[in-house]
């Protein structure tokens, strides 16, 4: 029986295993070092904040794996011999494979800051990081924490610390929050929101040095403008990169990540790579060559399972979408809304008077084709937006059917009429928003 071995029990590796099991009777083993069972990395923050226990982050009960004949082996893979198809684990164990899937995920970037390995300085990626953060913020009273790097994980860390009443200073290199992704207006809303929650936001500020006390624990940081700020905890969240140190300088082709073609095949026979660690030699149209989000890992897992089970399938995600939450503001995006308008693009922006809610549409100036939507504080129906993007709908049609797209809970205030009215004024159009139609939403007629 063919033996498929997967390194990494994250969303991509586990999805691959589940789908291979659905499609075949192959022997499946998942080798992973971090935890015994698959858990949701995206939920780590909620464990720290006391919303959940760690068990709650595990999407499957423990009996699931045996029932589905997915063998789990805990261990750190140190080397891979591609010619003998053998993995060597840190304890000395060896595992041989017929097909190998590398789903090893990411690790926190560290940029060689002085003092970055002091006690009380850490990133947030793994379960071990979570445990460390618990320890770092409880052994000693933290009067102030500093977070470096204004992306998603940085905000999550800020929210975690805030939940324990720890004052947070947040260093952001750019002059706005999440500058490479969010347009200015959205970034401003988030910035204000963080400040309203008591976060000390410092834009265009970088970390220069972390200063140690006698015991080797952080006692202060020095920022790029020379200010020394006393703190007992430093969160480093300047992004993540593929976790492939152990694979570098082997026969496997790597660059930033493990280089794969559109079929998720590496340069080694019978070796595939998926998830955060895979780097596309030719990215799919309009996508990045590294995709480090949850659902892309899942889709890669679904895709590679087909290939391994003899339905050779290219990775082809549909339209881009994503979501996040910044403290109490939910963010969703469908299609592409770049931080800066691209050539030939036009946009329409509406903001609620309280300044915690907005909708930002981007469309093609000439053809009026709808290109993307950002929302803060309003939930949007994925199905509806995806259909608009599929059908190359014009922005005018999107506006006309805006009520179909609303996904907020019942009794929530709705703003579609207000939004469309503003659109009409700015665009000189005369659109009236149609009543919500289940027929359209469910795709009949």
């Amino acid at each position: 029986m063919e033996h498929v071995v997967i390194i990494g029990n994250g969303i991509s590796g586990v999805t691959a295993a589940r789908h291979i099991r659905k499609l075949s009777n192959k022997r499946i083993t998942i080798v992973s070092a971090e935890t015994d069972y698959f858990f949701s990395r995206t939920a780590l923050m909620y464990v720290y904040m006391g919303h959940m226990k760690f068990e709650h982050t595990q999407p499957y009960e423990n009996w699931f794996w045996e029932k589905n004949r997915i063998e789990l082996k805990k261990g750190l893979v140190e080397t891979i011999d591609y010619s003998s198809k053998t993995l060597s684990l840190s304890g000395g164990d060896q595992v041989t494979y017929d097909k190998l899937i590398l789903a090893v995920g990411s690790k926190t970037n560290k940029f060689g800051w002085p003092g970055q390995n002091l006690k009380g300085v850490q990133g947030l990626y793994s379960k071990q990081d979570l445990d460390l953060m618990e320890e770092n913020t409880s052994v000693l009273k933290v009067e102030r924490a500093v977070i470096v790097g204004g992306g998603l994980i940085g905000v999550e860390m800020a929210e975690m610390l805030h939940s324990r009443n720890i004052p947070v200073s947040f260093f952001v290199r750019e002059d706005q929050f999440w500058g490479n992704v969010l347009p200015v207006k959205e970034a401003e809303i988030i910035g204000k929101h963080l400040e309203s929650r008591g976060i000390d936001l410092r834009f265009t500020t970088e970390l220069k040095e972390i200063i140690s006390d006698e015991s080797g624990r952080v006692k202060a940081v020095v920022s790029s403008n020379g200010e020394e700020l006393a703190c007992q905890f430093v969160g480093l969240t300047p992004g993540v990169s593929p976790n492939i140190d152990f694979l570098k300088e082997t026969d496997l082709e790597t660059e930033e990540g493990i280089v794969v073609n559109q079929f998720l095949e590496t340069n080694q026979p019978d070796v595939y790579s998926i998830g955060d660690c895979a780097q596309f030699s030719k990215p799919a149209a309009g996508r990045n060559n590294l995709e480090q989000v949850w659902y892309t890992g899942r889709i890669m897992g679904e895709t590679v399972a087909q290939t391994i089970c003899r339905n050779k399938l290219a990775y082809k995600p549909g339209h881009w979408f994503n979501s996040a939450k910044f403290f109490d503001i939910e963010y969703q995006t469908y299609g592409w809304v770049h931080s800066k308008l691209q050539d030939g693009e036009a946009n329409f922006y509406w903001e609620h008077k309280d300044g915690e809610m907005c909708m930002h549409f981007v469309f093609d100036k000439a053809s009026r084709k709808f290109l993307g939507l950002n929302t803060l504080g309003i939930r949007i129906r994925h199905e509806v937006m995806n259909r608009h993007l599929d059908a190359d709908s014009t922005i005018d049609k999107v506006m006309e059917q805006l009520k179909d797209a609303n996904f907020d809970p019942e009794f929530y205030r709705v703003y579609e009429d207000e939004i469309v009215a503003k659109f009409n004024v700015e665009q000189g159009t005369n659109i009236s928003a149609k009543k919500r139609s289940w027929k359209r939403i469910l795709g009949v007629g």
């Binding site: 909620y46 919303h51 199905e383 469910l442």
Partner: protein, 621 residues
């Protein structure tokens, strides 16, 4: 702000301590006046006199009349003796006047047994009671079968045995209407009448010191949350660090208190008369000078807890209008329908009916006393009964079709109302495992089946009551009595399951243990919701990140994430539509909706989750 909170907590704890301590103060003494006030007012005077006199005599014999007891425990330990003794004495006494006395029996035997032969006949009876037509009739009616042609007694002893057995029944029956049966209600009445002391003397003061301080303290604790918890948004910080909400020591203490409370309330109400005395002034607002029963106490506590914790809900979920409207709705139905109307209807000689209570949660609906109670109250009473039937048979399924069972379970129902307010802090404690789901289905449908069987019995009995009033054992079908079944159902399901386990176990099993495992109405609506309803929780395409907030906070133990991460809508018979999964989801994935079931879109799992274009194209080929 923090200080206000802490002071509030202290005030609440003081109020709570006074409440507990109030059970242990006061003395208990039963006097002739007390007995009079208890029975003369409630019964017709001649009947009351008999009861009072007999109880008084029995009390004197037991040496407890006018004797002061220092606790309800020592006092109530004599009550079984008192009541049994008094009842027996009443029976004996009545035999003289209206029954057949021992002397009269001798007279019968003299004439009926001649030379060792039984010649009992109607003439014998007529002769013995020649001057008493009443007793003539009584005996002829009851013993004519004994002088029937076909009935020949060979042995004198057989005759005597039959005759004396019959007499026992006749004499016993005479007393029955004067009996004060030894049950929890009589004991409650006696202990309450006997209670004296600081509480009975200062009911108003104690109402303030207990309910007043607790409400005041709780509000001082809850209201600052609007500011302390930070801006509007999901506020579950520290839920699993807090000993109260994570089965820690506070949770265990709360559990022990609730357990004791329910056991006392349902099975030993006479031990908590002081608590009912505290709410007497409140009861007095409805009927002047009336004395509160344990059920009034419970109704008050229930409504107060829901209101105070409802305010907490308004603050906690102030960003979520679904939660606000829903909480307002359960409070409205509790305060108006379950509490006020139930107090007010009897003032107009109407049955104290909770108009929103539906079969089979209302398991008494088809019992004879309930049916006759309604029909004896005239047009309005009949209307109320018909409403109950229409509600259960038509309104409920139709509404579940359009909105799911949530319209009842988390918008209207009293049990649901308590769960959604007092119980909200415990919602995460429900068990999410698959095995528990299996147990749940077995249990809840068993209870439902039981309720149906009981209803058939009750209906059969009520039908006989109306159509064949002469029939004997109208309540017996297949050798089982409707009353017995009801008694067991009421004990096991109505009291133990719905009360002791359903609410007592909030801090252990979560706030919906009854609704999930036991409620027959939930089972009934669940079947409709699962198979014929527009309601579903829509999953938003491919946005789920499997974080697990939704499953964790599902009070019904539904593993919401298992559906959401497959892109499948959630359709489960047990879902009460509280909307909290949708509220806590950090990615805006879940939404409670009522929509048509186009192409099986309501509950089928999509073959490909939205976003994997490649796989979709491949499978379409």
């Amino acid at each position: 702000m923090k200080n206000i909170r802490n002071i509030g907590l202290v005030v609440f704890l003081i109020g709570f301590a006074v409440f507990i301590a109030s059970l242990f103060v006061g003395t208990y003494k039963i006097s002739e006046d007390k007995l009079k006030s208890l029975y003369d007012t409630t019964e017709k005077i001649d009947k009351g006199d008999t009861i009072t006199a007999s109880l008084k005599k029995a009390a004197i014999e037991l040496e407890i009349l006018d004797k002061e007891f220092s606790s309800q425990f020592s006092f109530s330990s004599h009550l079984a003796d008192l009541l049994n003794k008094s009842n027996a004495a009443i029976s004996d006494g009545l035999a003289d006047k209206d029954g057949i006395t021992a002397i009269e029996v001798e007279g019968i035997y003299d004439l009926a047994i001649v030379g060792g032969k039984v010649i009992y006949s109607k003439d014998v009876v007529l002769a013995v009671f020649s001057d008493n037509p009443k007793k003539q009739k009584l005996l002829i009616d009851n013993t004519s079968w004994m002088f029937n042609e076909s009935k020949l007694y060979e042995k004198v002893d057989d005759f005597k045995k039959d005759f004396e057995n019959k007499l026992k029944r006749i004499n016993g029956k005479l007393g029955e209407k004067y009996f004060v049966w030894d049950n929890k209600y009589s004991r409650f009445d006696l202990v309450k009448a006997a209670s004296n002391g600081p509480i009975t003397d200062n009911k108003g003061l104690f109402l303030f010191l207990t309910f007043g301080l607790c409400i005041f303290g709780a509000l001082m604790y809850i209201l600052p949350g609007a500011i302390l918890m930070g801006g509007p948004g999901i506020k579950n910080n520290g839920v699993y660090h807090d000993a109260a909400t994570s089965r820690g020591w506070i949770g265990i203490l709360a559990f022990v208190f609730l357990l004791f409370f329910y056991i006392l309330l349902y099975f030993y109400p006479w031990l908590i008369v002081n608590w009912t005395s505290i709410v007497d002034p409140f009861k007095g607002l409805f009927i002047e000078g009336a004395s509160a029963s344990q059920w009034f106490l419970y109704g008050t506590l229930y409504t107060v807890s829901m209101s105070v914790m409802g305010i907490r809900m308004f603050i906690k979920y102030r960003h979520n209008r679904y939660q606000i409207v829903r909480t307002a709705s359960v409070l409205f139905f509790q305060i108006i329908f379950a509490f006020l109307l139930v107090e007010i209807l009897p003032l107009f000689d109407l049955p104290a009916m909770d108009l929103k209570n539906a079969w089979p949660l209302d398991y008494d609906m088809f019992f004879d006393w309930n049916v006759t109670g309604h029909f004896d109250s005239g047009t309005v009473g009949i209307f109320m009964f018909v409403w109950g039937v229409v509600l259960s048979a038509i309104v409920i399924p139709v509404m579940v079709y359009f909105y799911g069972k949530r319209w009842y379970c988390s918008w209207v129902c009293g049990c649901g109302g308590l769960a959604e307010t007092l119980g909200d802090p415990y919602r995460q404690l429900s068990d999410k495992r698959l095995i528990t789901w299996k147990i749940e289905r077995w249990m809840i449908y068993s209870v439902f089946l039981l309720a149906i069987i009981m209803t058939i019995f009750a209906g059969y009995h009520s039908y006989n009551e109306v159509n064949y009033p002469e029939m004997s054992s109208k309540d017996v079908l297949f050798g089982m009595s409707a009353y017995n079944i009801r008694e067991w159902y009421g004990f096991l399901i109505g009291s133990i399951f719905a009360g002791v386990i359903g609410t007592g176990f909030y801090p252990i099993l979560g706030n919906r243990a009854w609704c999930r495992f036991g409620c027959p109405l939930a089972a009934y609506m669940g079947i409709v919701q699962r198979f014929k309803s527009r309601f579903r929780i829509t999953t938003n395409g491919g946005q789920c990140i499997s974080c697990g907030n939704c499953s964790t906070y599902c009070e019904q133990g539904i593993d919401v994430r298992a559906y959401a991460q497959k892109g499948q809508n959630i359709v489960r018979s047990s879902c009460v539509g509280c909307g909290v999964c949708s509220a806590v989801c950090p990615r805006g994935v879940l939404n409670l909706e009522n929509a048509p079931n186009t192409n099986g879109s309501r509950m089928e799992a999509p073959e490909v989750i939205l976003g994997n274009e490649g796989l979709k194209e491949f499978l379409n080929k």
